[in-house]
Each structure stands twice: as C-alpha cells, then as structure tokens.
Symmetry: D2
Subunit: 406 residues, 4 copies
C-alpha cells in the first residue's frame, strides 16, 4: 500500500480501541512519528489512561488538554445565541465540538512541526467533513489522513483481529458494559447511532440512554430554577455566578435528573444520506428554551424574526463543518450584534421531561410595556385610532389587486 | 357622533356581552340593519343561544354555521404542512381562524347585500388586522366598522353600564365561573391574555388552564398512538380514518388528557407591542411533532432545509393576517409542492406533557436507506473514498483564502 | 383648527415655496416658534437664500449645515457595501438621505429645546415614513408635524393662493425654468415624479433629465477610469485619493458626461401604491458595478452569495425608512464583516450609458488563483479526480429519491 | 488501464476534436459500443458533419436532434420568470442547457439499452457537475464516464498526438480561424474562458466577441421594440407572435446588432475556484430587463420582494446543476404561482449597449393606479391621514426601545 510521504502526524486520540488501532496503523503504514492529542471536552472519561497507552505505543509527544471552558465559551455559547436547531430537532452537540478539536490539531501540528493530522472518523459520517474543513481552513497545506477511508479494516471483526495481532488492549467501558451503539459525548450532549437504531421504526431500549433518567423515573416534584443572562449568555444559576463550563455541567445535572433532553430523530447528513440518531442534551435543552424566553422579553421583533430566518442556515453551517468559514463569521456578526440587550432572568419549571418557562424579567432591557399592552385603559399610551391607518395602508395593495379581478 | 352612511352591516357575533353591546351600538349609532354571523369553529360553545339573542335584538338575517371541517382542512392543515411556529413557540391558533371568519363575513355581505362588516376586536390587537386585511383583500370596497376603535366604552365598567342601560343580559359562563382572562378558542387552541399575565414574571395560576390537565395530573402511564399521514396531512389515528376536524378533536382529547400543549410566552404583536399570552394547543403540539418526524423520513434534505428557512416568514404572514395575500399563496405553493411524498406512519409516546417520537415508517416514500447508512459493511452501496473529493472541493475556497493570509 | 400644544418646532427647510408656506403655516396655526434647518447634501443649490428667507420670516434660530461628507461616509458608502438595489433597479438615492436629515432634526431639537419637528413630505409618499421612523427611533417623545397630512392646501393653486396672501415669494428656478416634475436631489441622485410620468406607458421628454447627457449625446470616445477600494469603499479615482463626498461628486461628473445612470421605473411604495419614478444616479451606477467587480475577485463565494440573499431585505429596510432600526444594524454588521478584504483596483470603461468592467486586481486579497483555474496543466494544484467524489456525494440524495420512484 | 465493465455508452458528441477523441478512446479503453447524441440547442453549427464523423468512427446508433424549442420553452423561460442572475451578473447561459442535454442522454440510454453515458466536460468545471447530477437524478444506476477525469491526455499537445495517431481529423472552424478561447454556445449565449482571460486585469481583445458588435460599432440610431408577455413569458415582438425559440433568436439578432449583452466577470465555480468568463447574451439581457419591467407593473409588491430574495438561491441551484432537484421544483412552484398576472407590453429602446425601458402597459393586470398615486387631488382615493397611524404603529417598537436607552 502506497501513501504520500508523511514525517509526523498529530492524531486525535481517545485511547479507545479505534484510535489505538489507528495509532499503530499510522506507525506501520506511514512509518511516521505520531503525536497524540487527547482533549477533555466534558465527555466524562478519564484522560490519563490515554497517556499511558500512548506512551506504551512509543509516542514521544503527548498532548492532553482540558478544553471545557474554551469549548463552552467560544463554541457552545455563540451557537446558542442563535437559538440553533438543526432540522428543528438537533442541538448540534457533536457538530459544535469538531471545529475545536480540528483547530487544536492544527495548532499542535504547528507546535510540533508535524505535516499531517489524522482522525478516527469514518467515510460515511459528518465528522470527517467537520475535522477536515476546519483543518484546511486553518492550514491549507496540511496533509490529512483518514484511515477509515484508506484501510481495509472495515468491519468490527477485522479491527479486533488487527488489535489482537498488534497487542492492542480491548477494554470494556468503566461500568463493565459495552454499548452496542456508536456513541459520542462532550459537555453538550451524548449521541447514539447504529445497532437497532438502524430501523427507524424501532424504539431504542431504555438501557441505551446514559445521561438522563426516563421522564417516568424523574422526581414527582418539579424543580424551579432561575437562569441569569448577560448579553445572551447564561452566567448564573439561581443567582450563583458560574463559568461557562460550570453552567452547562450544572444544567446537565438538573436536566438529566428531571428526564429532560432526550431526542430521537432521523437526520440528513451532509454526505447525502439519512441517518437515525438519539441524543441526550439535558443542559442544552434547558438553555435553548431559556434563551428564547430571555430574548422574547428583550429583543426587538424584527431582529428576532431575522434571527429566526437566518438560524436554519447557521445550523446547517455548523452541522456541515463550516465553523471557520466566512459565511459563519458573517452570520455570527449579525447574531452577536443583537445580544447586547439580552440581559435578565428566566424562571423555569423542570418536570419529568418538560422545561416550562414560568417567568422572565429584565431590569434594564425589558421591551414589555404593560402600560401599552394592558387590556385596561392606558391613559393614552396607545391611540387605537392609529390602527385604522395602519391597516388601511397595509391593505392598499391587496385592495388594488382585488379590484382588477372584478 | 358622525359616522359614514351604512345601510346594512354583517357582524361577527358570538352572543357574548361584547358583541351583544356592539349589535345594539351599531343599531343605535349607525341606524343600520345588522346581520349576525356566528360560526362553530370548535370553540366548544353552543350556538343556539346566539340565535335567540340576535332574534331578541331584532335581527332578521341570522347566519349560524358549522365551519369546523373547512377550518381544519383549508386553514389548519395547510399551515401545519409548513411546520409553522411563530417566534419559535406559538402555534398560531387564533391567527389561523381569523381569515376564515373574515372570508365568511364578506361572503355573507354579498349574499345579503350588506355594505359593511363589523367585528369585536380591539384596536390594540392583531385580530383587527387579520379580519380587516382579509376583508379588504376579498372586497376592496367593503366598509369596516371596528367599534372598539370608535366608541368611548373603553373600560369594562362603561361597557357594563351600556349593557344595563340597553337591557343586554350579562351572563356567566356555562360553568358558573367568569374567567378574568381575555380568551379565544377554536379547534386548534384556547388562548389567555390580560389580568395577572400582564406581568411577565408572574406564573399564571393552575385554575387558568381549561383544556389540558397539568403534566403533574396526567396519567402515570404513557399513551402510545400512531398517526397516518397522506401528502402531509394526518388522515388517521391508530389506523382509524377520520375527517380533518375529527383528527384534530381526537388529538386535542389525547393531548389534553396527557398534559400536552401548554405554552406561556411573550410575543411580538404586528401593531408593535410585546404581549404575554398563554396557550393550550394539545392536538396541534402533537401534530407538529409528528409531521416533522414524517418529513424527516420522506422529505429530501434540501427541500426540508428550504422549508425551514421559509417557515418563519410564512408564520409571520399568518400571524399578521396575510392569509389572502399573494406572498402567502406563493409560499404555500412551494410548501405544497414538497408534500406529495410525505406519506407514512409516525408512532408517538404521550406522557405528562411530553410528545416523544419513537418510530416512523413509510411504505413507499422512505428515503432512509439502511444499506447505505449502516455502520456495518455495506457491500459497496457507498464508496467511502468519495468523501475525500467531496471534502477537498468543499474546502478549496477556504484553503485559497487562508493561503492569502499567510 | 385645533392642534396639540407645541412650543418650538424644528422645520426641515429648503427655502422653496412649499417649506416657506409651511414655515408661515406653523407660525400661524401652531402659534409656535420655528427653528429652520437647511442642509447641503449635494443637491446643488445655494443655501444662503434659505437663510435670508428664514430671517425675513422672523426665524431666530437658523441652522445651515454642510453634511455632504457625513452623508456619503456614513450613509451612502455603508449602503453600497451591500450592493443595494431596490426592486432590482433603484439605487435608493432619496431613501438614504432621509435618515440623516431626520437625525439632524432630532439633534437640533435637543440643542434648541424644541418639542417638535416638521417636514414637507406628503401623506402619500415614502419620505414621511423615513423622516418619522428616524425621528421616533431617536426621540420617542418628539412631536411630529406633517402639514400635508393636516392642512387643506392640497392643490398647487391653494398653495399659491396661501403664498400670495402671506407675502411669500414664489421664485423660478435659477435657470429661469420651472420643472413640472416633483424632484429631489442630493449627491447620490436626482429624482423625478408626477406630471406625464403618471402614465407608465409614456416616455419622458429629454428635457426632463438634468444631471446627465443622453447616451446619444455622450462622447464617441470611451473614458477609462480606475477605482481603488479599501475595505469595500472607493477611496481613489485614477490613483488620486479623495474624500467620500469628492469621490461621489467626481463619479457623478464622469458618469453624467458619459450618459450613465438614467433609470425609468415603476416602484412599490411602502405606503402601498405603485408609482413611476425616473432617476439619474451617474456616480452610484458606476460605484455599484465597480464594487461588485472588486468583490468578485476578493470575496469568498458563500459570503458573496449570502450577501446577495440578504440584499433585497436590506434594500427594503432602507427604502422603508428603517435605517435606525435593530434589524438594519444587524444586517450591516453581517455585511461589514465581509468587507475587510475588499481591497484593490477596478478598471472601467464608460461609454454612452455603459459601464463596462474591463479589469480588476488586488495586491493582497485576490482569491483568483490562475494556477488552479488554468485550462493548461496545473502541476497538481487541483486533482480532477476529487470531482468524482464531490459529484457522487452531492448526487446521493437525488439517487436514493429516484430509486423510490422506480 | 482498468475500467468498470460497460457494454454501451451514450456520448454527448459535438463532432469536434475533443469529443471525437473521446469517442475513439471509449471504444479503445472500454471496448464498448458508443451511441452518439448531438443536439441543436442553437449553438449555430451544422450537425450533419457530426453524423458523418460518427458513422466514419463506426457508430451504429446516431441521435441528432433539434431541441431548440424545448430548450427555450422548458428551461430558459422558466428561469427568466425568476429574473435569474448568478452573482449579480451572469445570465446562466451554459448552466441552463446542461440539464436538457443530461436528460436526453439518460432517455437515449433507456431507448438504446445503454448502461453508461459519457461527456467531454473537464474535472475542473461546473459542467461535469451539471451533467452528472442530472443523470443521477434521472437514473440512479447509470454509469458515468468523464474521460477528462480519467485519462492522461491533459494537455492540448497530448490530445493532438492522440488524434493524429488515431486518424481523427482536426478541423478549423468554419470561418477558417481557430479561437484560442474555450467557448460554449447555445440560443441563450456564447461564453469565453481561458487564454488571456486567465489574468483578470487584462481586457479581452475585440476579436474575441462573436455574437455582438461593440457598442462603439452599433448603429447611431436607437431601435425601439415592444415585447408582449403572457404569464411571464415573452410571446411576441412588435406584435408578431413567435415560438419561444424564435423569440430568443430574434432578440439575439436585435441585441447583437445594438451591442447589447456583453459581460466580463469573475465568477465562483461550484467546485471551489474563481474563474474569469466573458459572455454574450444579447437576447437574454433584453428579456431580463423587459420581464422585470412587466412585473413592476403587474406584480404585487410582497410577491416581487419575495421573488427577489429567493432568486439568488434559485440562481445558485441552476448554476450548480440542481435543475432536477426537489428544491428547484419547490422554488419554481413559488415563482410560477406569481406569473399568471404578468401580462402586457413593454417598450424598449436599444442603443449601443443600452436596454432602456421607456414604457409598460397591461390591459387587465396593471396594479398602477394613477388615481391613487397622483400628485394632484385624488378625490378621496387615498386618505393621507391614514399614514399617521401607519407610521406610528410601525414606529412603536422603535420608540419603546429608545425609551429604555434613556
């Protein structure tokens, strides 16, 4: 098998079976030095085992980094300012983490003098696109190795055989079980694909879900919380200021305990196929609802409507991997220009899968003017007669057109 | 008080206090003949009392009509094909009924030779706009009388005084209570405004809600249902074919019993102010979720994304009263052109406020191809190597741009 | 006639017949003090006569200001960054000047302690909306007097009579003629409405046009010019740096001499009617063409396409008077975020009404890579095999869909 | 060289050097039977030489078809209903012809039992994408051979050598010259790429242009024409009804003679690079201007604005080759829903490169109501007082927001 010449490659390395096989395969097939990069983005796994494994595989440059704050502050929060939902349902938990990983791969390649990066995403999915668009956008000359598109280890059996032949340990999950699903997790969500989900008529078993209790198993008592927003970002829960990552972690805890954030969808991948995915996004589900409520009080109508019209495109850009593209920057500029006034507090009731907004207030930015909206007499704040002219001029074009039709 | 000359006016008449006062006021102030029009659009009130009252007030031409099927078939269902949500939350229950009422007012004016119509909507709300844009769009020369914008009976006390002076009966609701809220109901929803809702920080009392139990009071056992779609419309529940109105009525029953469809929002009115509204839309909430799921399996990705981008504008058009406007027709044509393939069955779990999609299938129109999407070997259905070229050409512009920045 | 109490009003005053009558009428009807504001925005008329007339009418506070640089720098140039065209044809010459006038009216009201402003726009046009939306957006409590919507001087005769009765001089234009058209001029354009234009089948006479020669009368020799752009704005002509206003003035001279920039259209007014307008926008016509050409070389494809999709809405916002609205700010943020790289030189041929781009270059920002685009062998800059995968994945959804249809 | 097994292939065959080499190459490399398909879409070349050459090459099934009417009626006219311009400049002359060719290739494959199609487009351009997306959308199992992406004949010299070795005649153009440009022509346009155009700062020589005289060489006398539109399509010139193809041919003649329709642009290809193209589209340039003018009189404002907002996306779809995709169908449905009323006559002045609209009328569909728009007294057709309420309610949200900012 002939590959282009590569002298050093930075591998996105989890320490799991797949990327351990890839590490070995890169060393063997490319005969190059491998740098490993392992990030904590809140997936809930210990990272030190990855260090030990990398050392055991002869890796000299090992990067292990806690990126949780950067992840939430610079990726998750900006995305939530747009109320982003892909295809009406998906909160983009996996999508939004990929550009951060891709960016660090390129930065580490620069630091270590590597001429290539590698990742463990398959040739059928969106993640390969997200990693590689990011990489090319930040270093146009980088070489990218995507073993799943190159090798012939295309079934689980072949991969296990390769691992066995090369003495790569295949470990069970910490909890002693092995999920049959393909999963991905970070501070925003955990996802499940494959196995029995490949029939979209089949409901997944309750055992699949890992982050949240079933609504049926959630407390019988609702939990009331208050989220404080500043310039569109949630900065405090029940009055306690928290860092971005801590906000999301705490919302995950609250949401998971109340059966919130499960989603079971068929989605359209950028590479052209439909796929079934199940997601748990407890904190994100709460955050989306709360952010919309905060905006409902503080944001101008037309700005809000324009945001709603731009959102699906923004969501597609993030889903498709175009975080570091000029059109995403352009939309972000528009979105961020609206958030200065999105300040205040939203009160929520969490109960067995439901997130209910039950109050919202803003000391300095509420555009809700009870003196105008009131059903009682308003002391002249609003002149009802104005509505006549408003309607008549808005109707003018319709009237002229109807006259023609006789 | 001087008004333009009107000889006969068709009044949208509910039989309640407000429109009974208006009936009298029109007779007195305009000295004209009044025709009453009362429609059953599923608001859940008997109509015959309206007839008796109109007769008692000397009305000679009384129109009482059951418009429930037309309402759901020609207004609600087309709107749901677009997955319509105003400002991310509101299912447009009131908005979508107004053009139907407006249309019948104009048709009855033509039938009876009336030169004017009248309605009981205030000068602060959206409904006046919706009625009047509809009316002008269908009869450009119609005269429109909106008493709330003309008279001085602007408080509840003055209205009661006028009623007392003119012998107009002020009745309690059928259940003996009088809600302090301004309400509107039809087959799609019931809405609440005013009173303590005028402070957006205050949670409404549980007594306010009328159509649904609280999630806390819903059954501990989930209800599983299957909805059958044909060309984007729901035509059967659990395999039983139903008329459009019967579909919605049954979904309301199912949703209401399971605590589904409550919503508490601050919305932006077309006349320029923010207002607080609470809504119960049990059937509509189920229908929206199910329709999206049916589309997720059967609709092309780009058609679905384009629908998502157009939806907020479509929603604004419906909210603002532009049902009978060329731009709504234009968007409807685009939306309807996609729905021929939206056929199949969606399986849903209803539980304490949650609507969970747990399965979807389509005999002839499923675009989900497990042989392509599978995580197992796919026998050549998809060539992973294709992804390399796909990514590289999509990245080309980003790479060229980065090179410039050095 | 009863009016609300006004103590001092700032009037947008041209010194012409209409606003002179308004000045008098305000003094008489409102019994209030009038402050006059006259701006040079490049309309090509001397302002000192306005001072003399205002003084003669007893005005104590007279503001006469040269706003040409602010007009082009802060209004015209930002708008041209968006390649703005209303309804595919109109360069928004009148629309873009109104927010500046409105802003100064409000600022002068603050300076002078006035509680009202007044303008000479009629109740049928767009300008009243533009002035007043600006005014309300900057001072929500300002009183606005629009005499044309209040008084009964609705015909030219009545106006002349009033002028005669009150000793207001009716002067001819400087050139001794009196145009039968309603005209408006500033550095960006001159417009014509009314008179024989009210029949859209009638071609206006050549005498109407004032700023440009007819293409037939332009030189037989083309004029070649080079425009230099920095961050999307034109900063130099043929290598000579000029201020924004000087750029536009010079382009007007060049365009006018070459028969460029005439336009004859039917447009849709915000108040609901269609109207016929003729415009001369010599410099703007050149600028639009040149800016697009500069972007074609330097702007990313997707950013450019998104700009094109947003432009019609941006144009409507400017046309409708929403310059000082959050949604315009939001769009401007998106547009401006793209212009940092729009640097370089565009070469144009001006000839008898034509503006032809014949060259464009950018030292640091050209995304045109001849080594990739070449029809000759490209030494590996582009791998043609990549196209296969690109096409196959883009086609995947279409193939799956077709298979279903058999 | 190993290729997949192909038994019979339909080749898009012009009879020129490139496709003659491809014909031979397919026979040799694939050892398969070749069917040739040559279409007259108005490129202005005789087709019978292609027949003779195909026969000489041993082709048994030769398809030569006149598709001009289908081309204009089913592709060009629907596209012009949308006022389609790619990137503000390009009339999509090449793009719109490709789906028709692709469709016929697939239909002929079905007729002849071929399992593959082949075309002569390179791997760098848009045309390969357009051909192949069309082919896959109509036959998901078709095999596609794109020799330029497969073979090693990547320079002109190698191609000439191959031709010489295989006895393929290399002919000059009919006029004895050989253009150095890569050209494409059909009834809508002729395009030029490559050679000295690869430097975007260089102006092409006058000799390049073939369909139009230079504006400088056009008649000194303007030509006046009247175009009649029915439902958005041009059906007559100066009152003479013509078929779609005849309309376009005659407009090409008129435009070309008057120096109309030249365009010199840098455009963004779908495959990711910028390229320079020059185009002559005389008839299309006239048609676009006229259609917009016809719509300006007959189309509702909001429908027109929505069309303008959707157009750039529609243009990209056509440019990128998605004619037979659901999202194009969806947009076409929206566009066509507006055109029923686009009836009437537009009067144009053609003069040395300029297309000037000088009149438009519509017997039954003009929405221009002079009685409303007039600057004279309008006898109550429009109540100026309505504007006050219109402005005040549109300003309400801006005023509330400003109050907050103090």
């Amino acid at each position: 098998m002939a590959h282009g010449a590569v002298s050093k490659v930075v591998l996105a390395y989890s320490g799991g079976l797949d990327t351990s096989v890839i590490l070995k395969w890169l060393q063997e097939e490319y005969g190059c030095e491998v740098v490993t990069f392992t990030a904590d983005i809140g997936q809930g796994e210990e990272l030190e085992p990855a260090r030990a494994k990398a050392q055991a595989a002869g890796v000299k440059e090992i990067f292990i980094e806690d990126l949780r704050e950067e992840f939430v502050r610079d990726f998750v929060f900006p995305m939530f300012r747009a109320n982003t939902l892909y295809e009406g349902e998906y909160l983009l938990g996996t999508s939004i983490a990929r550009p951060l990983i891709g960016k660090r791969l390129i930065e580490i390649a620069a630091l270590t003098g590597a001429d290539a990066i590698a990742h463990g995403a398959t040739g059928k999915g969106n993640d390969q696109v997200r990693f590689e668009l990011t990489a090319y956008a930040l270093n146009p000359d980088i070489k990218i190795i995507a073993p799943w598109r190159e090798w012939d280890l295309l079934s689980r059996e072949k991969l296990m055989d390769y691992a066995a032949q090369h003495g790569i340990a295949v470990e069970m999950k910490r909890d002693g079980t092995k999920s049959p699903y393909s999963m991905d997790a970070n501070l925003l969500h955990i996802s499940y694909e494959g196995y029995d989900l490949e029939d979209p008529w089949v409901e997944p078993s309750q055992e699949m879900w890992r982050w949240s209790v079933a609504p049926e198993d959630a407390p019988d008592q609702a939990t009331l919380i208050e989220l404080t927003f500043e310039q569109g970002d949630c900065v405090a829960i029940d009055g306690t200021r928290l860092t971005p990552a801590a906000v999301l972690a705490e919302l995950n805890r609250l949401g998971g305990a109340n059966g919130i954030g499960r989603s079971d969808i068929v989605e359209n991948r950028y590479v052209g196929m439909k796929s079934r995915g199940c997601y748990e996004t407890p904190g994100g589900t709460i955050l989306l609802k709360a952010h919309r409520a905060m905006e409902s009080l503080t944001l101008d109508r037309e700005a809000a409507h324009l945001k709603d019209e731009l959102m699906p495109r923004y969501a597609s850009l993030v889903y498709n991997g175009y975080w570091f593209a000029p059109e995403r920057t352009m939309l972000q500029a528009a979105i961020d220009a609206t958030q200065e006034v999105v300040n205040g507090v939203v009160r929520l009731r969490l109960y067995k899968g439901n997130v209910m907004v039950v109050g919202r207030k803003s000391e300095h930015n509420s555009l809700f003017d009870a003196s105008i909206a009131t059903f009682e007499e308003d002391a002249g704040a609003y002149d009802q007669a104005d509505a006549t002219g408003f309607i008549r001029l808005n109707a003018l074009r319709l009237r002229v057109a109807r006259r023609l039709r006789g």
